[in-house]
Symmetry: C2
Subunit: 214 residues, 2 copies
């Protein structure tokens, strides 16, 4: 191997080492958030299509129950007549939605494993999905470890925060962490305190995870 | 059956008859257009995820070729190391995209059959997909049959048309019909003429289809 080849090899290796595994968390949470949007869109389309045949069944709120009802193909008396082919096309769409729901579940399992491997403390404190959204928002595990607890608390609520700074409207109490059970289960008047506490725990956990890797 | 029951039965029947089968075309073209967007989004996400492992392969423009390359899992020397699980998660996403492409093809076949049944002349002149988008845009086959040829020509280009009326910018030459081979294959200076001719043929065809059904 001559000097030029060696140089190229070393450059490639150092490029490769620059990429850390937290990028996989960011990419996977993007997949999951896209899948959530996609499933919602296709379910709305399916409700539109099935609604002319069975308007009452199409209003079933629970998605999995609604998909089960479609398989039974029970026509409602007010409903439009459909041929077997028309129904097959509807059932085909509903089967694909079931696949996408499975895929979403599988990605959630994968992200759980990734966060357990890369940031186990953060994942345990924040839940795997919220941990991933925080890393995505900060740009990397490193950046998240450098952010103060008060910023972690409102990460993802930038719009409300700037409105607060500009117009003096109420300061946001929480951003991405809003959906965490510690906050959603807290009484209305306790939510602010719960968010502060959780953000502080998250801040400690992510520092432990990041510096343990170094 | 008493009078009240009979009344309810008749009302339901007349409601049911109000719905004509062209609604199926509208719903199915909505499915197809959603699927096109969904496939594009997921392919972009897949390119992002595979890009760290095989940056060159991830730039393969042809989607089906790109999906084939992923199955071969050939790591590029500049690429990041991935575990078997990481790769499995990527391949799982690529398999789902293949399913969605299949589903889109199946919906296109179904809409071809629907347009052949409901508006065979229009479908033959305009192609099944453009026929469906025109019906969707007009709201129904009936409405499309009532629209003059000059409006059909710019259906779907409303934005450009209003800009033209307001600011005197160039009038749009075509809307939805733009992607028809008669227009896309025409020389630049012939496109306007080709659009006028096609719109006129479409206008005739849809009238024949609609009034034959009455």
């Amino acid at each position: 191997m001559n000097l030029r080849e060696l140089n190229i090899k070393l450059t490639k290796e150092s490029l490769r080492k620059e990429i850390s595994r937290d990028i996989l968390i960011i990419q996977t949470i993007h997949s999951i958030d896209e899948l959530i949007k996609i499933i919602n869109t296709l379910v709305a389309n399916l409700r539109e299509r099935y609604g002319y045949y069975a308007p009452r069944a199409s209003r079933t709120e629970d998605v999995e129950k609604f998909l089960e009802l479609i398989n039974k193909k029970i026509k409602e008396d007010i409903g439009m007549d459909l041929t077997q082919k028309d129904l097959d096309s509807i059932i085909e769409l509903s089967a694909e939605i079931k696949n996408l729901i499975q895929l979403k579940k599988s990605k959630e399992k994968y992200i759980e494993e990734l966060t357990k491997e890369i940031c186990s403390n953060l994942s345990q404190v924040a839940t795997p999905l919220i941990a991933s959204r925080l890393i995505d928002h900060a740009g990397s595990l490193k950046h998240l470890a450098e952010i103060p607890s008060s910023t972690i608390q409102v990460l993802g609520a930038e719009k409300a925060l700037f409105r607060h700074l500009k117009t003096g409207s109420k300061a946001p109490k929480f951003g991405i962490i809003f959906s965490h059970p510690n906050i959603s289960k807290a009484l209305q008047e306790q939510k602010g305190k719960a968010a502060r506490k959780l953000a502080s725990e998250i801040s400690k956990a992510v520092k432990i995870d990041f510096f343990r890797q170094k």
